[in-house]
């Protein structure tokens, strides 16, 4: 059976969360178990809601040059995914 490419595969090398994150029904931010986790609650109370502006925050590109998130995420649909090596 063919598998789809998870956008976030890099972040979860071998981690249990990889499987959990891809379970059907987990897309609304529910973590382990039936209800929202503390992480879900923190996320949904902190992160701008639907229709609100993306945070005006400066990060860097892979050369270390400044990049403004709001600027790069304006003008087209944009997907932003957090991740790391572990």
């Amino acid at each position: 059976m063919k598998r789809l490419i998870p956008l976030s595969i890099f972040v979860l090398f071998g981690a249990v969360n990889s499987a959990i994150a891809q379970l059907p029904g987990m897309g609304m931010g529910m973590g382990m178990g039936a209800g929202p986790t503390a992480m879900d609650e923190r996320f949904y109370s902190t992160v701008p809601g639907i229709g609100e502006l993306v945070p005006d925050i400066q990060v860097v590109n892979d050369r270390g040059d400044p990049v403004n998130i709001r600027e790069v995420a304006t003008g087209q649909y944009t997907v932003l995914v957090l991740g790391c090596l572990t």
Binding site: L12, A15, A21, V47, V54, P55, V72, T78, L80, V81
Partner: protein
Amino acid sequence: MQRDFAPRGVDFYYIYKPLAHPEYNNYVTPFTLEERLMHVAESKRRLGSGITWLADPMHNPWHEAMARTPNSELVIDPEGRVAARRTWSDPEALRADLERLVGPVERRTMIEDLDLPTQPPPPTVAKGVVPRVEMPPTMAGIEVEPVIEEGGVPFYVKLRAEGDESLRTTGNGKMYVGFHLDPLYRVHWNNEAGPVKFSLTASSGSTVTPAGGEGPALDEPADADPREFLVDVSMSDMTQPLDLDVFYFACDDALTFCIPVNQSYRVYLQRDNHGRTIRTGADNVPTAGRIPPG
């Protein structure tokens, strides 16, 4: 996903953040932006994806704005407003979002359609030579500030410090001192050159016992195991740091250099909210005693 929706005008970015689980595949927390960008390069190497990479600066403003989640995901509309958000990246839910926003694709890209040159983590010399310490209960990462000297050599070996709940809340308790090789520098412990040595200095009225230590003498000529110690700390002023000085030989795996290194840290008893938890692979086991991220 990118291959399907980029032609429809959707941009994709990964944003690199602090390690969720230091030690996994031997990766350790970077100390500088340059080292974080080395992690980005390593991620590119390992994943082989063509998605654009950005990196959070070392004070982690994006990670904070995302409530310190490890793998959250936002979809932003052309006006810069949030169109979808979720705590954990979810490919199926993201695809449904994008189909709703820009329309479905005729044929979904499958993993077999791509040629992703994924690579394994860097190899290391012998591991499992030095036994891991047995962690006391309630241990969690505490703030470590490397003293970075302009023009100095990299921190080939990086300190991870943890404290038990008593230490973090009262200033009296157990502290873990772990020296971990950074695999991105391709170095090892040269046991014929001499062991790592460290000393801890507390402010007046505070004590650390023992106030230092050194790694074991080993028959194995080289290894890549962390050098770990437990000390008892009693701090009269929790706002003050402990000063840690460490000496070691940094020897690269290609055998092009083996140099003595002196480096220093300030260790604070406050919880490192970006330090996250240890989740180990099969070759380094101690998870007991560590508590979940706050």
